[in-house]
Every structure is written in structure tokens, then in C-alpha cells.
């Protein structure tokens, strides 16, 4: 009988010990940072995690717990986007276009417009394959769907020059970032804007809705024109 009582006491003590250990609150070093971010981006269709918030910071995550929603970025559906935000004039596969410049041609074309101070780069092959930004060779006969360069005016306004399927556009980058407008402003020589979608490797010639893009038309995009387009001038357009 005494052995049973002794054993029972030992079991109870052990259980008590385990209970105490289980209830022991682990020291939280950064309690404020254990709340998951409400603004964490979640792709469409992703279900809300039911995992307790504390799991995110209690132990160093391993590859196994890396959320799948961070694995890939969902590309934009260009067809649906332009359908909803523009008047589409034409859509054509990039490989079928005969307006695309070679590296040597774009070098000459931009130099004629005064854009010879800064490098000209490309990122896509005619197959739509993305590579890191690469500087052109002035003697290369290779074609690329998009070329870009930039220009800084005497008043330190920064412009990006984008040439898409032979059409040239100028983006007043510093103006756009400092502007209160909700939409981007660009300059073009035509009412139509040429876009390139790498996901489908297609050119889209469109007239954008003003709620999506404000297009200012100028006779010619060159350094003289950009020098004349100060912030005040753009505001007044």
C-alpha cells in the first residue's frame, strides 16, 4: 500500500513538473514583432494562413516553412489590362515586326536626337527571353524589342527614353515621382503608345485611357525638347 502511495505521489509530482514546464511562458524578446503584417502581399486565390502568429518568429524558419506565396510573382494579364485601360489599335508578335531596331541602328537613331551621353541598354531577346540589363554594341546587328537610355537635363530632371518596336517615348521620371498625380505622365511623338509584354512576347499599340497614362504629344523627342520641358512646363500642359 505504501509503495502504491509513494508511486502515486511520484507520478503526481512528475505530472506537476511537466505541467509547470508546459505552462512556462517562453521569454518573448520582440513581442511587438510577432504579429503578422496585414499588408503582406497575397496573390489572388491564396487562402489565409491559419498558422498561429507566434510561429513566424519563435524559431528560425527553414526552407520547409517558407510560404509558397513568395515563390513567384503573378504576371499581369496584358490582354485583359489593355482591354480595360485603353483602346487597342493593334497587337502583333514581336518576332513578326519589321520596325524593330538593331543595336547599331538604335545607337545612330538616338545619337541623331542628341542622346549620346548615356548608355543604351536592352533586357529582352526577340524571343522574349529576359536577361539582365546589357549595354548595346554600336556595331551589332542583333534586334531587341525594347531599348532604353536616360537623359539628365541641365536642371537635373531625369528622363528615361524607351524605344519600343521603333516608337520612341520619353518618361519624366523625376517629375512622375514628385508629382501628386496618381497616373504616370509620358511624352510621345504620336497619340498611340507602343507597349511590350514579355509574358506573351507581343507588342500592343494602344491609345491609353487618361486614368491609366497621360500622354503628351511633342513633335520630336530629342535633347532640345527635353531641356525645354521643366516641371513648370509639364504642369501647365
Amino acid at each position: 500500500m505504501r509503495r502504491i502511495v509513494t508511486l502515486s505521489i511520484m507520478v503526481l509530482l512528475l505530472a506537476g513538473l511537466l505541467l509547470v514546464a508546459a505552462c512556462g511562458k517562453p521569454r518573448s524578446l520582440t513581442p511587438r514583432s510577432s504579429t503578422p503584417s496585414p499588408s503582406t502581399p497575397r496573390p489572388t486565390g491564396a487562402t489565409k494562413s491559419t498558422q498561429p502568429a507566434s510561429r513566424q518568429t519563435d524559431s528560425p524558419p527553414t526552407e520547409a516553412v517558407a510560404p509558397k506565396k513568395y515563390e513567384h510573382v503573378t504576371p499581369r494579364d496584358a490582354d485583359a489590362y489593355f482591354e480595360a485601360n485603353s483602346k487597342i489599335l493593334s497587337v502583333k508578335p514581336a518576332k513578326e515586326s519589321d520596325a524593330v531596331f538593331t543595336e547599331a541602328e538604335i545607337n545612330k537613331e538616338l545619337a541623331r536626337r542628341g542622346f549620346n551621353e548615356y548608355s543604351i541598354t536592352f533586357e529582352y531577346s526577340m524571343d522574349g527571353e529576359y536577361s539582365e540589363e546589357t549595354e548595346i554594341s554600336s556595331s551589332s546587328s542583333t534586334h531587341h524589342p525594347v531599348y532604353s537610355s536616360y537623359y539628365i537635363t541641365g536642371s537635373e530632371e531625369v528622363w528615361v527614353i524607351l524605344v519600343v518596336d521603333g516608337l520612341i517615348h520619353a518618361i519624366p521620371v523625376s517629375y512622375n515621382f514628385e508629382s501628386d498625380l496618381d497616373v504616370q505622365v509620358i511624352f510621345s511623338e504620336t497619340e498611340a503608345v507602343m507597349s511590350y509584354d514579355s509574358a506573351t512576347n507581343q507588342f500592343y499599340e494602344t491609345i491609353p485611357n487618361e486614368s491609366e497614362l497621360i500622354v503628351n504629344i511633342v513633335d520630336r523627342i530629342d535633347t532640345d525638347t527635353l531641356e525645354s520641358l521643366s516641371t513648370e512646363v509639364i504642369d501647365s500642359l
Partner: protein, 465 residues
């Protein structure tokens, strides 16, 4: 007239005496005389622009003439006087780390803007092009020493790092380049360009020669050079556009993609740190994402600089599309980094302190009451320092105060000292207790108390009743 017995006081004295007796016994039996606690003294700050303080003026060396600053590694690396690493403190070191800059005592600051993992062991090129006037222009490529070379310097000085802080990996995947590229584009003209940029970056994480492998090697190299005693604190990256609802030129998917790049990078860093911990490395990860939540660039209260177009005064080149200051933590952001890293250091210091207590290597802690406040005792540079138990929490935030207390002490036959804070019994001697912080004061002992034969500095207190 009978003197009234103060039982409470007596019990306290008895309890304290018992405590001292109990703690003293093991010392006499098992501890070597000179085995003492070595307080943390040195922080080495490695890494990239997020560690150097890029974008927060002034940089060290920027006050120099142009001809001299283009040769100054501190200026070339854009090491800020207000970097978060310079605001860190160690419990036994007076002031902030930045108070010791250039003295080669407590802080070694070699983080550099633009650094990649390879620059821990290889020189980093720093091309510059600055015009002084119409006639004079400085244009060349400067080279910064490999960052881990700093440990050679420490070894020559007979020192060891206690902490190594680092933020690295972002430049290996072109983290900043992604943002700069994206901000110069049009999501209307190239609707999936930013997505391609991010996807390309994400593809660099895995596999042989991938980011994770590079980072793991970097951490191992640090441990090898710094020594196993060093606590390595890896600091993550914030979401640059967290909370930004609209940025001209960037669509929602692009903002999401840019923010996601930071998340993915942090997950990789945490994962590698976790694996290094499994290898018994003293390495820790400090995540800053939640603390920056809602404070990305282009929010109402940003902790991150916006895009800054064109070159600014301390950029290494007179002409560039965007300043290097762009998309780096501002002063408020640096304060957040300081707070989070300091919390980690404090946590590690407490753990280290407790370890010594547990191992009973050197008894050095007493409960002392002064005017009802409790203090713990530490020893530093021959001074006895008293700190409140919440000193560690106050460390980063307490405003310096200064009060003076006066008291007397007696010295026993074995170096045994009795301090009396409000009584004038015993051998009169004025001591200065200078309060140097919200929760700390230092006893400057003009008689330089010595250790007893056991290597202990033994004190005995009569608390205020």
C-alpha cells in the same frame, strides 16, 4: 531607554549574510584565483549599405577636401556617423560605439555601400568621378580592403571581437538595382518588366553558387576570422515600399513584387542562419520587416528614403540616374535598426552574464538598495558599477543623468569592504558615486580596492532600512 529592535532590518541583514556565506563557499573551494569575467568590449560592423548607413549624412570623411576624401575609405564606403551600428552600446563600454570611431578600441566599422558577399574576402572597387571645378576633376577606381581583414588588425592588437554585426546578400541578387530599374520604367509600356526583374533575382537564391550558398560561406568565413567566441548578428532587410499605396510609374503588382523581393531575401537569410545555428555557430537573425511595417518609402511616415533622382553632394559620381541615398533607411529607420539589434545584444549579454553566475566562475552580483532602489553590482576598469535590474532595457533609451551620492566604507582584514550609504560609522572616507545613466552609477574608489586572495572583489553592504 531600550532601543527598539528593527526586525525587518535585522532579517534583511541576516538574509544577506547567509547569502554571502553561501555564495562564498564554492569560491574558496573550486575557483582559480584569476578566473574573471571578461566583459564584452568590441563590436565589428560588417556589411553593405544597409549597415554602412548609406543615405544618412554625414559620412565619415565627407568634411575633407575632395582630393583627400576620394582616398578616404570611410567616405568611399559611405559610412555614416549616424549608422545604426554606431548607435549600439555595450554594457561595459562608455557611450555609443560611434563615440569610439577611429580609436581602434571598441568599434571597428568596415561596412561598405555596394558590398557583396565576395567583398568580405576580396577588395571592393569604388569608381568615382567628381569635378572640383571646371579645371580639376577626380576620376579613378579606388579599392577598399576585404572586410574580414579587420580581424587581422584585431589579432595584431591582441583583441577579439565580442559581436559582429552584418547585413549582406542584398547586392548579390541586385536588390537595390531591382528597385532603381523599376522606378525608371513604365508599367504601361512594359507591364511585366518589374516582374521579370524580380523573377530573375529570385532565381539566384538556390543551387550551386546561389545566394544561400554564398551567404552560408560568408557566415562561416566570419566565424573563422572572428573566432568562435564572437556572436554574429545578421540583420535583415525591410520591405522598401511597405504601406505605399501608389507610386507613380509602379503598378500594384510591381510594388508587390518589390516588397516580395525583400521577404524572399529575409527568408533565405533566416534559413541560412538556422542552418548555421544547427552547426553550433553563435549566430542570430534580427528581422526588421515588422518594425518597418507601414513605414516604407512613399508613406506618410517613411523610415526609408524615396527615390532621389540625379546625383547628390556625397555620391561618388557627379552624374547618375539616381542617388545612392535612394531607398535606404533614413534616420528613423536607423533608429529602428538600432533598437532591434540592441535588444538582441542585451538579450545575449544577459544570457552571458547568467552563464557566469550559473558556472559560479566569479561571484560579482549583489542586491543593493539605495534609497529604496535595487542595484546590481558589476566591475569595470577597476570601478564598481551599480545598475538597476532593468538597466539592460534602459540602455538604449535612457537619457544620461548625473547625481552624486556620498557614503563611507571600512576595509576589513582580507580586503573586505563595507559600504554604508547613509551612515557615518567606521573609518570615514568620502566616495563618489556618480550616476551616469538612468539606471546606473559608478563608484570611483580613490583607494583602488584590490582583490582578495581568491581573486574576488568582496563587498558587504548594509542596506538602507
Amino acid at each position: 531607554m531600550k532601543k527598539k529592535v528593527n526586525w525587518s532590518q535585522s532579517l534583511k541583514v541576516i538574509a544577506l549574510a547567509c547569502l554571502l556565506l553561501l555564495t562564498a563557499i564554492p569560491q574558496r573551494v573550486g575557483v582559480k584565483a584569476k578566473e574573471v569575467y571578461r566583459p564584452s568590449q568590441i563590436i565589428v560592423s560588417l556589411g553593405d549599405s544597409y549597415a554602412s548607413g548609406e543615405g544618412i549624412l554625414d559620412f565619415y570623411g565627407q568634411e575633407k577636401e575632395l582630393s583627400k576624401k576620394v582616398k578616404d575609405p570611410n567616405w568611399l564606403a559611405h559610412r555614416s556617423k549616424k549608422s545604426w551600428s554606431g548607435q549600439l552600446r555595450l554594457p561595459f563600454v562608455k557611450g555609443k560605439m560611434s563615440d569610439h570611431h577611429g580609436k581602434e578600441t571598441h568599434w571597428y566599422f568596415v561596412a561598405s555601400s555596394g558590398a557583396k558577399t565576395k567583398h568580405l574576402l576580396a577588395e571592393q572597387d569604388k569608381p568615382y568621378s567628381k569635378r572640383q571645378n571646371l579645371l580639376k576633376k577626380y576620376q579613378d577606381v579606388a579599392w577598399l580592403d576585404p572586410q574580414l581583414k579587420v580581424f587581422d588588425q584585431l589579432r595584431k592588437q591582441g583583441k577579439q571581437a565580442d559581436y559582429v554585426t552584418i547585413s549582406i546578400g542584398g547586392n548579390d541578387i541586385g536588390f537595390e538595382e531591382i528597385v532603381r530599374s523599376a522606378m525608371g520604367r513604365s508599367s504601361y509600356i512594359q507591364p511585366n518588366n518589374a516582374v521579370d526583374l524580380i523573377e530573375k533575382a529570385l532565381s539566384k537564391f538556390e543551387g550551386t553558387g546561389g545566394l544561400k550558398e554564398k551567404i552560408r560561406k560568408a557566415y562561416k568565413d566570419i566565424e573563422k576570422e572572428a573566432g568562435k567566441q564572437a556572436q554574429i548578428i545578421v540583420v535583415g532587410y525591410p520591405r522598401l515600399l511597405d504601406g505605399a499605396s501608389g507610386v507613380a510609374g509602379l503598378n500594384r503588382e510591381e510594388i508587390q513584387a518589390i516588397n516580395m523581393g525583400a521577404i524572399k531575401l529575409n527568408i533565405a537569410l533566416k534559413s541560412v542562419v538556422g542552418k548555421c545555428q544547427e552547426d553550433k555557430m553563435n549566430i542570430h537573425f534580427v528581422d526588421v520587416v515588422n518594425a518597418f511595417e507601414g513605414h516604407g518609402a512613399y508613406t506618410d511616415q517613411p523610415f526609408i528614403n524615396p527615390a532621389i533622382f540625379g546625383s547628390r553632394s556625397e555620391d561618388l559620381k557627379d552624374f547618375q540616374l539616381a542617388s545612392d541615398y535612394s531607398f535606404h533607411p533614413n534616420e528613423k529607420g536607423a533608429e529602428v535598426y538600432t533598437r532591434l539589434v540592441q535588444e538582441k545584444i542585451n538579450e545575449l549579454e544577459v544570457a552571458r552574464h547568467q552563464e557566469y553566475i550559473v558556472n559560479n566562475k566569479w561571484r560579482r552580483e549583489y542586491d543593493v538598495q539605495v534609497a529604496g532602489e535595487e542595484f546590481l553590482e558589476f566591475l569595470h576598469d577597476g570601478n564598481v558599477i551599480y545598475r538597476t535590474p532593468d538597466y539592460m532595457d534602459d540602455l538604449a533609451w535612457g537619457q544620461p543623468q548625473s547625481i552624486e551620492l556620498k557614503g563611507t566604507y571600512t576595509i576589513g582584514s582580507s580586503g573586505h569592504i563595507t559600504l554604508r550609504f547613509n551612515e557615518d560609522k567606521g573609518e570615514p572616507a568620502v566616495l563618489e558615486f556618480k550616476r551616469v545613466g538612468a539606471s546606473e552609477f559608478v563608484l570611483y574608489d580613490p583607494n583602488s580596492p584590490s582583490f582578495n586572495q581568491y581573486g574576488q572583489y568582496v563587498t558587504d553592504y548594509v542596506p538602507i532600512g
